[in-house]
């Protein structure tokens, strides 16, 4: 019996699709969930802060998408091993904490020699760490070659209003966000421009309730 052409074509289409689906099942299967919020309390001790900071760097901070710790060779992004030692001397007059804060809030203000700019502003979306989370991250960065000196009470010049809050709702920019001008281009002192404004959510321009 001859198989009708229509059936053959259909079989070919199904087999081809099936084959690609099969290839799709062969590769590693990973479901990526939105980063989990790490609980932060105001009275964490330095080593707790560093531990939380490390977790944030692995998760929500996305730091290890780019950075490594302890990798040699031609790299595209600076390796962070022993970074605390370098941080103390990178910018004259900056302590390691000042330097880390600048790296995080205004990454383009100082470019590590031999690398291209490209580090995102960490307190802005899409990463959007809060001020408290950033303190924890700095605490961990300090352990890479030094000792944690920041506390949850440390005030960084870039922080707005002090208490960082997690971004709520669907619209991302955290209320604590506006620091350091648009995309931090120069090394100028941070000018919290619209710090006083209440966060607005972009919405329907005329939300008239139906009667």
């Amino acid at each position: 019996m001859k198989v009708p052409v229509s059936l053959r074509i259909a079989a070919l289409a199904v087999a081809t699709t099936g084959f690609y689906t099969y290839v799709g099942q062969l590769v590693p299967q990973k479901e990526v969930h939105p980063p989990a919020e790490v609980a932060i309390s105001k009275d964490m001790k330095p080593d707790e802060m560093a531990k939380v900071g490390r977790e944030i760097m692995e998760g929500k901070g996305l730091c290890f998408t780019c950075h490594t710790i302890g990798k040699k060779g031609p790299l595209r992004f600076p390796d962070l091993e022993g970074v605390d030692v370098r941080a103390k001397s990178r910018v004259p007059g900056f302590s390691d904490v000042d330097y880390f804060a600048q790296s995080i809030y205004q990454p383009s203000a100082f470019i590590v020699p031999g690398f291209n700019p490209g580090m995102p502003v960490i307190n802005k979306p899409p990463i959007g760490l809060t001020d408290d989370e950033i303190l924890a991250v700095i605490a961990y960065l300090q352990t890479l070659g030094g000792k944690t000196t920041v506390t949850m009470q440390t005030k960084l010049p870039y922080q707005a209003g002090g208490n960082g809050q997690a971004a709520a709702g669907t619209v991302a920019p955290p209320p604590a966000g506006p620091t350091g001008g648009p995309a931090a281009t120069t090394a100028a002192a941070p000018a919290p421009q619209n710090a006083g404004k209440k966060p607005e959510t972009p919405q329907n321009p005329n939300p008239s309730p139906p009667q």
Partner: protein, 625 residues
């Protein structure tokens, strides 16, 4: 006509099932007032009074009900994500087809006009036959997608509207003109002077491209938003339109659409070829399939370059996004993409080689083919393997995390770039050999010309390969720069060799005829395979484009807080892609079948017995004769 009866019965059955499905769905959602058992205490109130009280209470409650904005609604069973995904993908596939076919139909019609060869005109007409039903299907899925978004993602949709509302009216206007041009172009075939008709076709293409540019603005904005404040408020719609990925997607899409449209049109020809009953029909559809495939491959060759341009702009917009794409969760997707593209190259070359069988005097070239085959297979292997040696993301982390993205995209990419460039050169060479089959150049400088072409090929291959090898020994930063001379030398080769070839084979003597229709039938299945692979590739890449945003509706601006905020596994994604592809082919075979009805004889009543004996043996897909 048993088949006809069977098809009608199946269609009726399907229709019935759909209706039953819709009805059960609606009934399940219908509001049923809860039944209240009359409790002993309530006996005190007279029944009528009780009912009135209850009613008054409900009324009161209804009146005072506050209006609440909903962020998300759930689509039953498959969920909102998958529902919108399928609608969007089918819409895109049909839209791509409807935009692409006029592009090359017009080109073919123009060739017919210039060469005065009626065959081209007829071919262009035949291609456009596939358009009108596809156009309706595009609009249907577009409406489904729009309603899907409004119903299932109301808050996000409102946001997009707030940014893009000024683009909607032009869109609708263009859509109207698209319909106008499409139908006048199709129904006006042969009814106007050729110039007027060509102008209509041009209008159709201009308007269609305009529509695509506007729609691309919406979806590229979601990946790389611009023109808005930090809080997402609109500053400039125009800036939102020309965001980072808009132009690269426009370019990549136009080219990919043509490649896709060509391959689907070739599949149509293949389907007609396989069902053809006369040699004349076979010759015609062989030729049509050849042209469709030719269009597809011509558009396919520059696609990788457009892809790199797109990737570059994504990196320029946000390194984090770029690294998510090439180094993070999606890096494995590009392995799958490599398998697909490798298959396309293999199949395209195979088809060309089979095609030499229809040319007498092609034997002299056929001996080279096994070498080309080896080359293609090797490149394919190189392209698909190195990255897969590293097996899991965590293993990569263990190997030193961050170098991984660099490795992915630019490190091992060195070998991949080389492989893909050689693949392109090889396919181009196959084309060239095919073109030459059965012809002998008559120009005086034939030998020199051939040598020049060979020299260009060799130099380009040497540049590509040596840079590829050198890439292993230099820093990442230097290596990035290498891809540019590689690409340029391939592009230069294709252009210069083609130019030489055109002049070389001017007035060439024909030593062998092209015997259209005399090609191994397997070649037609190859064409169908190419079309399915292309469609699947579209689906896969559409998924990267939108999956890349991960838990964002608008990257960095509107966060996805729905239950679908996570990024599914590639296994899941590929299954959905397959569902979309199969649905597309189901629908497109319906379109093919409708298009083939025009050539059929009108229905006439005839005696029952005679019909039985007349039943044809072979029938193409969906042909319910």
């Amino acid at each position: 006509m048993m088949k006809k009866g069977l098809a009608a019965f199946l269609a009726a059955l399907l229709g019935f099932a759909v209706i039953v499905g819709i009805a059960t769905f609606l009934l399940r959602r219908e509001y049923h007032a809860p039944y209240r058992a009359p409790a002993a205490v309530t006996q005190e109130t007279p029944r009528a009074q009780g009912i009135a009280d209850e009613k008054a209470e409900v009324e009161k409650r209804d009146k005072e009900k506050p209006y609440q904005e909903v962020e998300y609604r759930q689509f039953p069973k498959i969920g909102s994500r998958v529902a919108v995904w399928i609608a969007a993908q089918l819409h895109l596939l049909f839209a791509a087809f409807v935009l692409a076919v006029p592009l090359f139909a017009l080109a073919i019609e123009f060739i017919g006009y210039r060469t005065k060869d009626r065959r081209y005109d007829r071919l262009a007409h035949e291609f456009t036959k596939l358009l009108s039903v596809s156009f309706s299907l595009t609009a249907t899925f577009g409406a489904m997608l729009t309603f899907g978004l409004i119903i299932l993602y109301p808050k996000f949709t409102t946001y997009l509207v707030s940014v893009f509302s000024p683009t909607f009216l032009p869109y609708v206007g263009l859509f109207f003109f698209e319909a106008f041009f499409l139908y006048t172009y199709y129904y006006g075939w042969g009814k106007f002077s050729p110039r007027v008709h060509l102008a209509l076709g041009l209008g159709l293409n201009v308007v269609g491209t305009g529509i695509m540019l506007i729609a691309n603005a919406w979806l590229t904005f979601m990946t790389s938003p611009s023109g808005i404040s930090e809080k997402g408020a609109l500053i400039s719609t125009w800036d939102a339109v020309r965001n980072y990925t808009w132009m690269p997607i426009n370019v990549h899409r136009i080219i990919a659409n043509v490649a896709f449209g060509g391959s689907v049109a070739a599949a149509y020809a293949a389907f007609k070829f396989l069902g053809a009953k006369t040699d004349e029909e076979r010759a015609h559809y062989d030729w049509m399939g050849y042209i469709g495939n030719f269009v597809a491959i011509c558009a396919f060759l520059p696609l990788p370059f457009a892809g790199y341009y797109l990737a570059k702009e994504i990196y320029a917009y946000s390194q984090t996004l770029g690294l998510t794409m090439m180094g993070g969760a999606f890096s494995w997707l590009f392995i799958i993409q490599a398998v697909l593209i490798g298959n396309l190259f293999l199949a395209a070359n195979y088809y060309l080689w089979l095609g030499m069988g229809r040319i007498s005097g092609a034997e002299q070239f056929q001996k080279y083919i096994k070498y080309l085959l080896i080359l293609v297979a090797t490149c394919f292997a190189v392209w698909a393997t190195p990255r897969s040696i590293i097996s899991t993301v965590s293993e990569v982390r263990a190997m030193g995390g961050s170098a991984h993205p660099a490795l992915q995209f630019l490190g091992v990419m060195s070998a991949k770039n080389t492989a893909v460039n050689i693949l392109i050169l090889t396919t181009f060479l196959s084309f060239l050999l095919y073109r030459r089959s059965g012809k002998t150049p008559t120009v005086s400088w034939a030998k020199a010309g051939n040598r020049a072409q060979l020299a260009i090929f060799l130099v380009a291959a040497t540049i590509v390969i040596s840079l590829g090898i050198l890439g292993y020994f230099v820093e990442a930063r230097v290596r990035i720069g290498f891809s540019i001379p590689q690409v340029l030398s391939v592009l230069f080769t294709m252009v210069s060799v083609t130019v030489i070839d055109v002049f070389l084979y001017r007035n060439a003597t024909k030593t062998g005829e092209v015997r259209w229709g005399q090609i191994a039938p397997i070649s037609q299945y190859v064409l169908i395979f190419i079309a399915v692979t292309f469609t699947w590739l579209m689906g896969l890449m559409g998924y990267v484009r939108s999956g890349l945003r991960q838990h964002w509706h608008v990257y960095g601006v509107i966060r996805d807080t729905s239950v679908d905020a996570f990024t599914p596994t590639l296994g899941f994604a590929t299954r959905i892609v397959s569902v979309c592809v199969l649905l597309f082919f189901l629908l497109i075979s319906f379109v093919f079948w409708l298009a083939s009805l025009t050539g059929k004889k009108d229905w006439e009543p005839r005696p029952e017995k005679a019909a039985e004996t007349e039943r044809p043996g072979l029938e193409p897909v969906g042909a319910a004769e």
